[in-house]
Symmetry: C2
Subunit: 420 residues, 2 copies
């Protein structure tokens, strides 16, 4: 394994204005090719702090990745510093300049300022990593046996350069071992119970196969990573272990591919050629958002009735006023009627309904905060479950949404042979 | 200003499983009391790496905040290391043990394991920072004039301890200067245009008043921070500057308080005692989610028709099939009819409607990816605008949602005197 440090540059990270999502993505991608991120450091747009970070991290790691500090104003500090640190002179890179000019003339349709033009300037000791999606190029430096890679902070641009160039170049440079991964997604089981359930198998894993638990709101992803030299041997071996853990986790298995829950559900709906609709009270549109935020995950999704008020539950979803008066909006009867109403009004084959008390207010001794009813079904049959979540409002919403999607997935699978 | 480093401990941060949202929140809160976060470092659950981070950061900063590494399994490494680093012995803290026992007996209703009991063990040289919301206590150490604060990694627990204890204790310990803040939110103007518009005023600010730009998907928050010793003087001075920048930014001003766009809209609806409903095509429920994810921001929200398919637009929102056939689903006519339909079917006073092409697919030369129509209105009048966003799918959704909320806000304000 190669050790890496990630340095993120920018005051916006230190004053808490921006949450750093780049580092997590980079770490995941680097892991896959056998690079272990040992440290991550964030520093501001301050010359001395950036210099110190470069010095310190090159003592810790073989590979130093730098993001940020390359915007049209901020690179006043970073670029001269990189020139200095790597004993280089700034030179205009003609390919980059041509690309920047093209972007401004044809895409942004704005005049090119001197600041923008200067983004084509790079230290003459670096290899330029071309940035198709933006103006600031990436840069690859080598110094005293260490590799330094400077990338723009804009996530889309950083990801583009990483995928197009950096990952392959790193594999070549460090003559990486062969690495193989297998991933499965479980839902409806806690990390500790799952760990307990597979611990005998896990403890028998050979030392070159590692298992990672990646929990996320009611779901746990397991990732097997195998490192070695013989690709075929490695593939066979990891596949055999993967089959074993799949069997052990069968009860909670959602997918053995690297897919999200909405993607799995969407695939299932495509296979069966069925349409889904949602009726959301307590999730307030969040399930709809999950089903529509990924392109294509939504071909089989008609829409949602976000029935935040009881009026909408009655008027559009046709929940009976008597039910709401007697059992309440958060009840088995209500969510079952919501499913029925959603199937009808959204002209869908299946529907999901949620109703609950997300907190922090609105709880009672009978229905404390975190009480949630979820129902799923089709026009022939339905099922409802009560849950008691005990987190804050936002986490309760996330948990309810994932749990509901999984309930529908299981319902569709069990409903396999029925004609509807 | 006091300089601080934040150290986050945990393999989950280094493999990219978890995105660190703690540091951003901490930085914001620390800024407010006059602490400047100079560096943020993430290290894994590795003794040597944690030790090195403590050593290095105490050279950089006067205050070192540590989060994570205190879970019932991970603290096998962190706690003994802290004992070692601060020359301490582990002792059971009776208050903490009582609290943990209470949590397990009455809240979690699970037996207390030896691992859980051990969470009450703390180094005897620290002051315990009581954790009302969880099992792992925070710890305050002092060594060679530096302050080290260890906090649990669970966001809710970390935030609780910071707000209840740490911020006050820091202010006392470092005899902080008086700090005063004013915040305003703008929408519909880019950071660079706004900066240009207020640059003369900004360049005339006295050196002890700082301005920060906090941009976020179509909105820019401006924060003025003033530092000094005389509270009254400071307050008067910052208020005068705040009034000036408010006037300069009046055209785009959303609020001069520290509120989110949904909160501002919700407040406005409460003042006017009016109800809003949404009809969402391209935002797919995201506006509904924004209006419901914060408690209380939704008293005046009836719900949403997420009309992802044209069928739902026609059936429920009563958009005419001819309109969709001739003008298309992404058109002025369609969003206007969606507003009308939403007001009727959701029994609301106002409605928002969105329809657009979020990408990456679905664009055409006439309607490229990023084309979005938004309409807002009441039963008497409506307004629609076309936008051309040029980001990825998720950012286009965010931008559309914020822009739509702001359009309704402006519509309600302009609609002030009409009887409806």
């Amino acid at each position: 394994m190669v050790n890496a440090s990630i340095i993120t540059i920018g005051d916006e990270l230190l004053i808490g204005q921006v949450i750093d999502t780049n580092s997590a993505w980079m770490a995941q991608e680097l892991n896959k090719i056998g690079v272990w991120v040992k440290r991550r450091v964030a520093v501001g747009d301050v010359k001395e702090d950036i210099w110190n970070a470069l010095e310190e991290e090159s003592r810790h790691s073989q590979l130093i990745l730098i993001t940020g500090g390359l915007g049209p104003t901020a690179d006043d500090i970073t670029k001269p510093l990189l020139c200095n640190y790597f004993n280089a002179k700034p030179v205009i890179n003609e390919d980059v300049l041509k690309h920047i000019t093209h972007l401004f003339e044809n895409i942004f349709r704005r005049p090119l300022t001197e600041n923008n033009r200067k983004q084509a300037e790079v230290p003459n000791t670096c290899s330029v990593l071309f940035n198709k999606l933006g103006t600031a190029p990436g840069m690859w430096f080598e110094k005293q046996g260490k590799v330094f890679i400077s990338l723009p902070g804009v996530p889309l641009e950083m990801k583009g350069i990483m995928k197009d160039i950096v990952l392959t170049k790193l594999r070549d440079h460090f003559s990486m071992a062969v690495i193989s991964h297998r991933t499965l997604l479980t839902a409806g089981v806690g990390e500790s119970i799952l760990a307990d359930h597979i611990k005998e198998w896990e403890s028998g894993l050979p030392s070159h196969i590692k298992l990672a638990y990646l929990p996320n709101y009611g779901m746990v992803r397991l990732r097997l990573t195998s490192t070695g030299t013989d690709k075929t041997l490695l593939e066979n071996e990891i596949q055999a272990q993967f089959e074993r853990v799949k069997n052990l986790a069968a009860e909670w298995l959602v997918t053995d591919e690297d897919l999200t829950m909405p993607q799995v559900l969407s695939q299932l709906l495509k296979e069966k050629n069925k349409i889904v609709g949602t009726a959301e009270s307590c999730t307030g549109g969040y399930i709809a958002h999950l089903l529509t935020r990924e392109a294509g995950a939504s071909d089989k999704y008609n829409g949602s009735i976000v029935s935040y008020s009881n009026l909408v539950k009655k008027d559009i979803l046709k929940v009976s006023p008597e039910t709401i008066a007697s059992a309440g909006a958060v009840s088995e009867e209500t969510v079952l009627q919501m499913v029925k109403g959603a199937i009808e009004v959204l002209k869908s084959d299946y529907a999901i309904a949620t109703s609950g008390i997300m907190g922090p207010d609105g709880g009672s001794p009978q229905k404390p905060v975190g009480t949630v009813w979820i129902a799923v079904g089709n026009k022939n049959s339905m099922t409802a479950h009560k849950f008691q979540f005990r987190f804050d409002r936002i986490r309760n919403i996330e948990l309810t949404a994932n749990t509901a999607l999984n309930m529908l997935r299981k319902f569709i699978l069990s409903d396999n042979d029925k004609a509807i």
